[in-house]
Amino acid sequence: MFGLTEGGSSVLVRVHHFYHYFYLPVTDGIQPEALAEAINRRLWNDKTVPRDRTVVTNVEITTKRSIMYFIPGDPEVKFYKITLLNPRHTKDVARILQRGGLSVKKPNDVTAKLPELPTFESTLDYLLRFMIEVGLVGCSWLTLPAGKYTITEHKKSLLQVEIDVHANDIIAHNPEGKWLRTAPLRRLSFDIECAGRKGIFPEPEHDKVIQIANYVWDHGHKKPIAQVVFTLKSCAAIVGADVVSYENEEELLSAWARFVRLTDPDILTGYNIVNFDLPYLLDRAAQLKVADFPLLGRMIGQPTTMRKTRMSSSAFGTHESHAFSMHGRVIFDMLQLITREYKLRSYSLNSVSAEFLGQQKEDVHYSIIGDLQRGDEQTRRRLAVYCLKDALLPVRLMDKLMSLTNYMEMARVTGIPLGWLVSRGHMIKVVSLLHRKSHLVDLLIPDIKRSGPEGGGGDGPQFEGATVIKPEKGYYKDPIATLDFASLYPSIIMAHNLCYSTLVRPVHLAHMKPEDLSKSPSGASFVKRSVKKGILTKILEELLAARKQAKKDLKAAKDPFLQSVLNGRQLALKISANAVYGFTGASVGKLPCMDISASTTAYGRQMIDNTRLEVEKRYKGATVIYGDTDSVMIKFGNGKSLEECMRLGEEAAEAISSIFPKPVKLEFEKCYYPYLLISKKRYAGLLWTNTEKYDKMDCKGIEAVRRDNCRLVANVISSVLEFLLKKRDLQQAISMVKKVISDLLQNKIDVSLLVVSKSLTKTDYENKQAHVVLAEKLRKRDPGTAPAIGDRVPYVITKGRKNEPAYSRAEDPLYVLERNIPIDNNYYLENMLRKPLERIFEPVMKSSVNSLFVGEHTRTISVVTPKKGGMAKYTKVRLKCLGCKAPINEGALCAYCVPKEAEHYTKNLNTMVKLEKAYSSLWTECQRCMGDICHDVLCSNGDCPIFYRRRKAQIDLNAASEKVSRFGLDW
C-alpha cells in the first residue's frame, strides 16, 4: 500500500499474511483436504506451477448463501472456501473447477470426477478482497499500532518509509469526523513538446522530444512547489521557473525520469498524457535506448510498461487507450476526465480552459514548434513559456473542477482505490459496494462467464427506458409545472425491494405464500421486505442516508476545503446510487439481472402514467403535456398565474406522492414559463423556482452545443430563444431571423461565424468528407502546415464550380478571407440553418414556418469577386466611384458625386472607424492573452472566437482605409 502520513511523508506499507480465496459449492462426500490435493496435483500436471510449489494452501467448509434468488425457506448452503498462496493463480484454479472433470479421491478411495461447477467470488480482485476484509476504503486513513510493525532498512521503493505489517494489525478508519481530512497528495503535471517534421504529426520513431514542462503541486496547497522545464539545447531564463537544459535528448529523457523519481508524486497529471505524452516518451526512450527512463514507478527497478487497451463502458463509450503499470502513482489525465464528465463543443485544452477557467489560451501550431526550436535560446524560451502554461492548466482545471476531491470522495464512498476510478468504468463501484455489503451478511456472489470485450463493463441492450408521455408540441405561454421523482430508480428498487436476493424463480412461486410476493409490471416476482430485505435496498438506503447526512454537514461546514470535500461526497453518493440500476442492466457486466432492471423501468413507466391519470383526475382542465423518464410537465389550465401554478404544483406533488409506496417521492421543483416544447427530449423554457425572477433559460437537446455546427447556428438559435422566451416577442424573433438570412445572402455575416471544424482521424475515409478532402488540398498547397491526423480541420463551404459537390468546396477560412473567395451562402441557409430553425419555429408558427425562408428579405443577393484565381485572372479591376459605382480613373468620386463629397467621405470614414475599434480591441486582446507584449502573437487557436475575426479585421480595415485615402490626404 502506498500512502502518506498527515505531514506528507510517503509510506509504503507491505502487508503480510493475507491470502486470496474464493468459494465453491460443496459436493457431497468430497473432503476439503482431498479437493486441495487434487487441485494442486492438477496444476503440477498441467505444468502451471513447478512441482515444489503448493498453490492451494487450505480448503475448508463454510456455511453461506448465494446472493442469487430467494429460495423458499431461505436455507443455508455449504461452500468450500479455497485459499490460495498466490492470488495470481486464482483464475487457473477457478477455471479447472468451472470446466469440470477434476479427479478427486473420496474417503473410500474411489476417484470421482467433479462436474462443471459454478465458482463464487473468484473474479473479485485480490486488492479489493483485502480492502473489504480489512474494512478499508479508497483514500482513507489507517492506523498501524506501535510495536505491531517493523521499519525496513533495505528499501525496495522510493518512498520515505517502508513498513512491514501483518494484515490483522491494520486498523482502518471510516472517513468521517476527524478522518474526513484528505492527505496532501503530490501532483506532478507535465506537458511535452516534440519537434515534428514539416507537415507530419510527431512520431516517436523520428521526432525528438525537445521540452518537458512540469508543475509539482501538492493537493490543497495554494502555490506549486516547483515549476521546472527541461529543454533540449539552451534556453533563456524564465522568471519564477527553473530551466534545465541538455545538449542531447537521451540526457534530457533520463533527467526527467530522475526528476519524477526525485519529486515522487502520488499523482501524474496533464492533458492527454495517457494517449500522447506518456506513450510518446516511453516509445521515444525505447527508440533511443535510454535504459533508466521507464523507471517511473515507485518500486525500485520495476519499469513502467504500457499496453494498448480498448475500454468500453456504457456510460463512457468505447475508447482506444493505453494502460500503464506504474507502481504507486495514479495517472490522472484531465482530458479523459473531462470527456467523461462534461459534454462540450470541443475538448481541446483551449476550449476547455475557455469554458472552465474563463481564459483563452495561446496555441502554437506544431509546425512552428520546429522553427522555434531551431532558433536561439530566446525562441526556445518562448516555447518553454508556452509549454509551462500547458502544464499548469491541467492542475488549474483539476482544482477548479474539484476533480481530485470529488474522485477521492468517490473512492471513499464506493470503497475502491483512486486509480480504479480513472482506469475503470462505473461497474466496479457497484461491484465493490455489493461485495462489501454481501460480505457482512454471508452472501456470495456467483462468477458470471463473460462474453464481452475486456474492460469494466459493456453496453448491453438498454431496455425500453421509461416511456415518455408523448409530447404535445407547442409554445406555451402559461406556466408549466414540472414534477420530478427524486432519485426515481433507486427509490423504486427500495420501494419494491428489488434485489438479486429477493428475486423468486418461477419454479418456486408455487411454494410461496402470495402475500409475501409482489409482482412487477414486467412479470418478475420479488419477496416483500417483510420476508427478506434485499441487499440492493440496504445499499441504497445507506447511500441515501449518507447523502442526507453529507448535505447536512455541508450546510454546517465553515472551512471551504471541507465544504468541497463534503460536496464531493454527496455527489459521489448520488452517482453511486444511480449506478446501481445500470449495473443490474448491463448485459456484459459482472452480475446482470434483467428481471431487476426491467422491473425497475416498468415500475417507472407505470408511475409516470399513474401520475398523469392522477393529475388529470384531481385538477380540472389540467393536462400533462409531456413526461420524461422521471418527470412530468403539467399545464394546469389557461390563464393560471405563475404563483398559482407553483402552489398547485407543490400541492399535487404532495398529494400524488402518497399514492406511491415509500420512499418514492414526487417533488415540485420548478415551473417553465414560457415553455417551448419541440419534441421528445427537446425543449426550452425559462426556469422559475420563485415568483420574483427566473433562474435561467433551460434548453435541452437544442442545437447550441452540437460540435459540428458553425457558431452562426448556435448564435441564431440562442437569439431566437432569447426573443421567444425572455421577450416573448415572436415578431422580433422572426425579423431577427429574416435579417440574419438576408445578411447571409448579402455576405454580411462574419466568416468566423461560419467556420465548421472536424477532427481528422483517418485519411482513408470511405465517404468523401469535407474536412478530409480539404486536408488533402492543403497538403498539396503546403505540406509544411497541412493538418495531420488528430488535428481539427476548420473550414467554410465556398461557392466553387457549378455542380461541384459540397465536400470538395470546403476551404480554409484564412485562405477564404485573404482571397475574398465567395462563400456558399445558400449551403449555410439550407444545410445549416434551415432545419434547426424549422424545428424551433414549428411549434410556434405551425405551417407558416416556410415564410422565414422566402420573401422580400431573400431577394437581395450580393456576389463577391474573388481577388485571385478563376475569372479574376482575365479581368482588370477599374476604380469605381464610391458614391454611385460609376467607373472612374482616379480619386474617390465621379464628377456627379463630388458635390456630396462630405457625405460620402463621412460614410466611408464611419465604416473605417468601426473597423479601427474592432481591430484595436482584437489585437490588444491577443497581445494580453499571450502574456507578452514585446513579441508578435503567433497563436493559431482556431477555437477562440476571435481567431478569424482578428484576421478579418486586418483585411477589412486595410480595404476601408484605402477607400478613405482615395478622398485625398492633404498633409
Partner: protein, 509 residues
Amino acid sequence: MHSLEPTPPNGNGQESHPTVRVVSEIDLSPAKRFILPKKKKYEPQYAHVYFSRLKSLTAHVLKSAKLTFGEGEEGKLQYSKRIADIASKDEMETVVVGVIFRHMKSKPSILAQYDVPSHELIPAPPDRATCTYPRDDDEVFIEDEYGRCALDLSQLDSAVATLSLVTGFVLALKGHEDRRTGSFKVNAISYAGQAPQKSLPELPGDKFICITSALSFGKADGDVLAAELLMEFLRGSAGEDPEGSTCANIVQLIVAGNSVPQLEDTESGPSAVLAAHRPLKSGEKERVAAPIVEVDRFLSVIASSLPVAVMPGEADPVNYLLPQQPFHRCLLPSSSRNENLARVPNPFECSVDKRVILGTSGQPVTDFALYEDQSSVMKDGKEAGKLRPSGEKVLDILTLMLQNRHLAPTCPDTLASFPFSDGSDPFVLESTPHVFFAGNQREYASRLVRTPHVQTQASSGSSMDIDGVQGGEKTVRIVSVPRFDETGQVVLVNLRTLDCIVREFALTM
C-alpha cells in the same frame, strides 16, 4: 492646402482686422511626426510599438537610474541587462529596466463581450470603460524583449505604485527577486526624467496663445451664444481685456478636439438589430453634416483674423486610432481655403516664436486616470458613465508623462492606437515642450513645472546636464484645458512668461 512651412512673419492676416494684430513665427512642422503615411498598413502587430518604445527609452532610463541608485557594485547592487536574468541571480539588489504592463481583468475586453448576452451575432468592440480598472486580483509586470516578471509592490507606497506603474511606461525598478514566489520585490522606482528642452529666447512683449476644446457645435443643450462671444473676443471686437491681455496679442488659437458633440451610436440597443445595415435616413445624414457646417463657419471667421490650428478629438469625424489625422478638407470646405487655418493631427506639436507647444485632445490623460481607483476620478454628471479626473489629477498625470518621456503610455493597450512598425513610437518625447496641455478636461488647472539643473553624481565638477545637451533648469507650463461646452472657459498662455489665464464666456444671466 495649408503649407507646413513656417508662416512668414508678416502673416496672411486680412485687411479687415478690427485691431492691428501682433504676428508670430509659427512652425507646424513638428506635428508632421503624427501624420501617418499615405499608404497605411494595418498588418503589423502591436508588439512593435512596445518594442520600439523600449528601444528609444531604455538608454535614458538606465542613465538616470544610475544617477539615482548609483553605479553597480560587486555584491551590492547590479544592473540586470535582461529581465530574464534576475531569475538566475541571488537575492541581490538588482535594477531592471523594462516596460510596465498591468494585467487587469476590468479592462474593456472584446472577449468579455462574448459572455454578455446580446442580440448581435458578433459582439461589438467594447466602449470606453465606465469604471476604473483596478481590482484586487490585478497583476503588475515588467517586461523587456527577453521576458516578463511579476512585480511584488508590497514595499512601495500604494499611491505611488498605482500612479507610476502604468501600462506602457518604461521604468527602472530596484529590488530583488523573491525566490519563493518568483516575483520581483520592488523597493524603488526611477524615471527617465524629462527630455532636453530647447532654450527659451527672450520675447520683447506679451504674446498669447489661446487653447480651447470641446466647442461641441450643434450639441442639443449647447450654449450657442458662448461660442459667439468667444468668436468676437478672438476677433478683437469684445473690447479691452480687464486683465491686460488684449486680444490683439493673441497670436494663435488651438482648438483641441471635439468641435462637434459625440454622436450617439444609433446602432446599439435591441432595436438596432433590425436597423443595422440599412442606409442612413435623410434626417441622420443632416445630423452628421450640420455641426460640421457650423464649425466651418466659426473657423472661417476666426481664421480671417488669427492663425488657427484645429485638432480632432474623440468625437470628431476623423479616424479613431491615435494619432488622429487632421480633418478632411471636404468637411471644412470654406475655412480650409484660408491659409490661416491649419488642420492638424492629435496629438499636436508646433512652435510659436520658438516656444514648443505640445498637447492632445485629452484621450491619453482620460484613459491614464482609469488606472487609479474609483476615488480619484469622478463620475461626470453631464456625460453619464464617463469618468474624468480632477484638474489637479490631470496635472499630476501630465507631469508623469513628461518625466517618463511619453505622451500616451496606455497606447495601444487600453487606448486604441495605430500599429506603428517602422521602429519608432511617435509618442515618445524626444524633447520637453514649453507648454504641455490636455484638452477636453472637466476643469481648468495649470502648473509651472520647474526641473532644477541636475548635477551628475559621477562627475560632480561638470556642469553638463544629464542629457548632455542643454544645461540649466527646464520650465514647462502644463495645462488642463476645460471643455468649453461645459465651462465656457478658454485658456490663454503668455508665451513670454509662460503665465496662464483662464477666460470664461458662459452666458450666465
